[in-house]
Amino acid sequence: MMIYFDFIRHISSNNKSIYFKCRELSLSIGNSYITLSYWQPPDYKYYFKTYKTTVFTLLAPGKEFGRLYIVANDLNNNNYTNSRIEGYLYDLKFNYIPFGILPMIDIIPLNLIAIMIPLIILIVPTIAIYSVYRKREIIIPVLLLMSILCFVSNLIPFEMFFIMILCFGAMIFIQYKKGFNQE
C-alpha cells in the first residue's frame, strides 16, 4: 500500500509545519519520492547550505510516510534552532516511478485515478438504469441526481457541479425540443 499527496489542493501551514492531505493508493511497484525546493534571500544574515536547493526524499515502498524533517544549516554547520529564518519552500512534487522507468507524467495519472471515483459514481448507475428502462429521458435526471449526491458528499467541487448543471440544462433543452418536434 502506498500513499500519495495532493499538494495542489490540500495544503495548510501554521508557519512551523506543513500539512498534506494524503490518500492511500494500492500501487506498490516502483519507486516514489518527494522533491521540494528551498529558497532564501541571498542578502540575509545567515547563509544556509540549502540555499536554492532541492530536497530529495525517497519513500520506501510499503512504508507510510509520516513526517519530513528539513534541517537547515549554515556554511559552518550551525543550525540556528531558535532563530527566525526568512525563506520559503516551493515546487513541492510527488514523483512516482513505476518499474524504475522515469515517466513524462508524474502526479497526473494519480490525479486521474482520484477523479475516477466520482466519474464511476456518476456514470455506472446511469447506464444501469438506462439499460433497464431503455428511455433516453431517464439519462439526465439520473445524472443530475448522482451529481447532486456527489456534490453534497464533497466528491466534486462547486465548479464541476456548475458545469454539470450547465450541460444538463442544455441537454434537457435539446431533448425537450426533439420531443416537441416529434409531436
Binding site: 513524462m104 477523479i115 447506464i127 433516453r136 454539470m164 450547465l166 450541460c167 441537454m171 435539446i174
Partner: protein, 73 residues
C-alpha cells in the same frame, strides 16, 4: 507543447463522450454536451489546460443559441 498528458486527456474525453453518445444514440449536439461534461473532469484532473474547457463552453453556448433560435413554438 503537446505532451503525453494531452493525448491521454483528449483520448479519455472523446472516448467517454463517444461511448455515452453511442449508448443513448444521440446527435452531434448531445455529443458536444457530453464532451463538455467529460472535459470538465479532465481539466479538473490536470491533464488538459483550462482554456479547453472555456472553448467547450463557448461551443456549448453556441449550440444552445442555435437551438433556441430555431425553435418553433
Amino acid at each position: 507543447m503537446i505532451t503525453i498528458d494531452w493525448i491521454l486527456g483528449i483520448s479519455i474525453m472523446f472516448g467517454l463522450a463517444l461511448v455515452m453518445n453511442f449508448y443513448i444514440s444521440g446527435s452531434i449536439k448531445e455529443f458536444f454536451i457530453f464532451l463538455t461534461f467529460f472535459n470538465a473532469f479532465v481539466v479538473w484532473s490536470g491533464l488538459l489546460p483550462f482554456w479547453t474547457l472555456i472553448l467547450n463552453i463557448i461551443i456549448l453556448c453556441f449550440i444552445v443559441y442555435t437551438e433556441i433560435s430555431s425553435v418553433n413554438m
